[in-house]
């Protein structure tokens, strides 16, 4: 079982991203449980969504406290909340940022970090800072736990249509293609 926590800001589609990821994982025959954390949701406020995935039926309907994968779809939210909270050693961080990883001040216990200039890509595709589907592509590249094809199929089952659907498919593909994955454990060992 993998436990994923997504961080974003209200209005960016973190919760929708977790639902799309859930659908893509089921497309590949897995079981999922995706639960949005809740608060007084409003545009711009930090939001969190949880997703569990497993080849077995998932019984617990609870929030996630020790995610082995953290996805941050907003570059500024790391200043507002502790996105590393509860992460075990050797976890994977998938981060929307335009900075190189050496400038990020990452905690030492991470196993892998994947970085993607999602805002830059979003401004080209959507002309807005909507990074959620780009970061799903980044997740696919960083973890290998879901294919781009399954994410595209899942997108086709959403309310996205026509130009919106095409843009989001492009977003997933570019997110995948333009994500750099760094194995921190290996780097430190070398």
């Amino acid at each position: 079982m993998h436990e994923v926590r997504l961080h974003g800001r209200g209005g960016q589609g973190a919760v929708l991203a977790s639902a799309i990821l859930a659908a893509a994982l089921v497309e590949e025959g897995r079981h999922v449980m995706a639960i949005p954390a809740f608060g007084f949701e409003r545009r711009g406020a930090p939001v969190v969504a949880f997703l569990r995935m497993s080849d077995q039926v998932i019984r617990r309907v609870t929030n996630i406290y020790h995610p082995d994968i953290v996805v941050v779809i907003d570059p500024t939210v790391v200043r507002a909340v502790d996105v590393y909270a509860g992460m075990p050693a050797n976890g994977t961080l998938v981060l929307a940022t335009s900075k190189p990883h050496s400038e990020l001040g990452l905690p030492g216990h991470l196993g892998r970090v994947a970085i993607c200039d999602a805002v830059g890509i979003a401004m080209e595709i959507f002309k807005r800072q909507i990074t959620n589907t780009i970061m799903l592509g980044a997740f696919a590249k960083a973890t290998g736990l879901v294919s781009v094809e399954s994410l595209e199929k899942a997108l086709e089952h959403t309310d996205f249509r026509d130009a919106g659907l095409r843009q989001n498919i492009e977003a997933v593909r570019r997110g995948y293609a333009e994500t750099t994955v760094i194995e921190l454990g290996k780097e430190q060992a070398a």
């Binding site: 977790s18 639902a19 859930a22 659908a23 089921v26 079981h31 999922v32 449980m33 995706a34 639960i35 949005p36 809740f38 998932i58 019984r59 617990r60 309907v61 609870t62 929030n63 406290y65 899942a154 089952h157």
Partner: protein
């Protein structure tokens, strides 16, 4: 022999969408709704299904929950199959017609997306709303998963409309964790649900028809004439319908299982109870985490099991007493508060059932998950530890608040 029967397709959806699908597949004639957190997206799914032509029901968009249920009373009296959903303060506002529904013997199905009660102000899950209305005379079934929500709604119509039941049913699912929680769900074929429900005959006993005028809900009661005996006859009829429902609920679940391959426990589910020395009692979506905690405790050598309550009204007294008869201690986990008894409401009910046994089994009340709080595997591990100590002779304290230090 587990035949795969007409499963149309796999979808990925939250509990509110699963409920909307359950309603859609049951082909209600009229749906009336008013949005309230955490039920609102259920209403949106219904509206979407109707707009897309998936459902042919009339959607009554009314000004509040009192009108929601009043409108549906009229529809049901005219022979329509009806559906609605509400939550917390919406249920409170619906209470006046809600109170009248069982006495009118209207076989309605209404989802309660359970939520804690205001005040203090909160808009999140808890079962205080549903537990507060447990004595009104509606049948109450609590679901554990998104799939069980979808499956239980057609089952609920089958139970409600059974000629020997004729009572309204609340199909309850936990706000937030189930209402917004997304999981894999098998969507049955429409033909499977159609043949399960059979020919629609919703309200044969009091059908409003301008060609054949009749009065319903006569003034009765009082202290003289035919009043007292008539009123008692009505009340005894409701009680009889409730008791008959126990068997009808079992039969309907068995029939559904045969047609879909999904066999839900109709009244209670016994999990690892065969050799259990200590038992937890659970209700609703908390049960999955409880099962994981029990499996972990078993690895440490603790013989612990779970009795999960699905049907809370009518309360399956004999089943629960029998299931718990061999354990040495019981921990009941509630997601609501019984203010009068300083414990959880399910705890109080279980105590009543245990009185039917010749032995006295120590029991303790655990309360968690109020106003959206999480009941984690670790919380259940604490509850198991405390119940083990109860079995070992430590005194019970009332109640344990699981999220007190969260």
């Amino acid at each position: 022999m587990n035949k795969i029967l007409h499963t149309a397709k796999t979808i990925v959806c939250d509990g509110n969408e699963a409920a909307a699908w359950g309603a859609c597949l049951s082909r209600p004639d009229m749906v009336a709704v008013y949005p309230i957190t955490p039920q609102s997206s259920l209403v949106e799914y219904l509206a979407k299904f109707i707009a897309e032509g998936k459902m042919s029901a009339d959607l009554m968009d009314v000004e509040g929950e009192h009108s929601v249920l009043s409108v549906l009373h009229g529809a049901c009296l005219a022979g329509a199959r009806t559906y609605s959903a509400t939550s917390a303060q919406g249920l409170a506002y619906m209470f006046e017609p809600y109170f009248r529904t069982p006495g009118l013997r209207l076989p309605m199905v209404v989802s309660l997306v359970t939520r804690d009660a205001v005040s203090p102000t909160c808009v999140w899950g808890g079962q205080q709303d549903a537990m507060t209305v447990k004595e009104v005379g509606w049948i109450h079934m609590y679901c554990e998963t998104q799939q069980e929500i979808l499956d239980t709604i057609p089952i609920a119509y089958k139970v409600a409309e059974h000629p020997d039941v004729m009572l309204p049913v609340n199909v309850n699912h936990d706000g937030n964790y189930l209402s917004y929680g997304v999981a894999r769900v098998e969507l049955p074929d429409q033909a499977v649900v159609d043949s399960f429900l059979g020919e629609k005959n919703v309200n044969w006993h009091a059908c409003l028809d301008p060609e054949r005028p009749m009065a319903v809900d006569p003034l009765t009661g009082g202290a003289g004439g035919v009043g007292p005996a008539t009123f008692v006859r009505y009340r005894k009829g409701q009680c009889s319908g409730m008791q008959t429902a126990l068997q009808v609920i079992e039969d309907a679940h068995a029939d559904w299982g045969k047609r879909t391959g999904r066999h839900w426990s109709p009244l209670i589910e016994e999990y690892r109870m065969d050799d259990a020395e200590v038992a937890l009692v659970t209700i609703g979506s908390m049960t999955g985490a409880a099962k994981d905690a029990v499996d972990e405790a078993r690895l440490d050598g603790h013989k612990v099991g779970i009795v999960k309550i699905k049907t809370f009204r009518p309360f399956p007294i004999q089943r629960i007493a029998k299931a718990l008869s061999k354990v040495r201690a019981i921990g009941v986990v509630d997601r609501a508060v019984n203010f009068g008894w300083n414990c959880g409401p399910v705890f109080q009910e279980v105590l009543g059932a245990l009185y039917h046994l010749p032995v006295r089994i120590p029991a303790m009340s655990f309360i968690g998950g109020l106003a959206g709080a999480d009941i984690t595997v670790e919380h259940f591990t604490q509850a198991i530890d405390r119940t083990n100590r109860l079995a070992a002779g430590e005194m019970a304290t009332l109640p344990v608040w699981l999220n007190e230090n969260d």
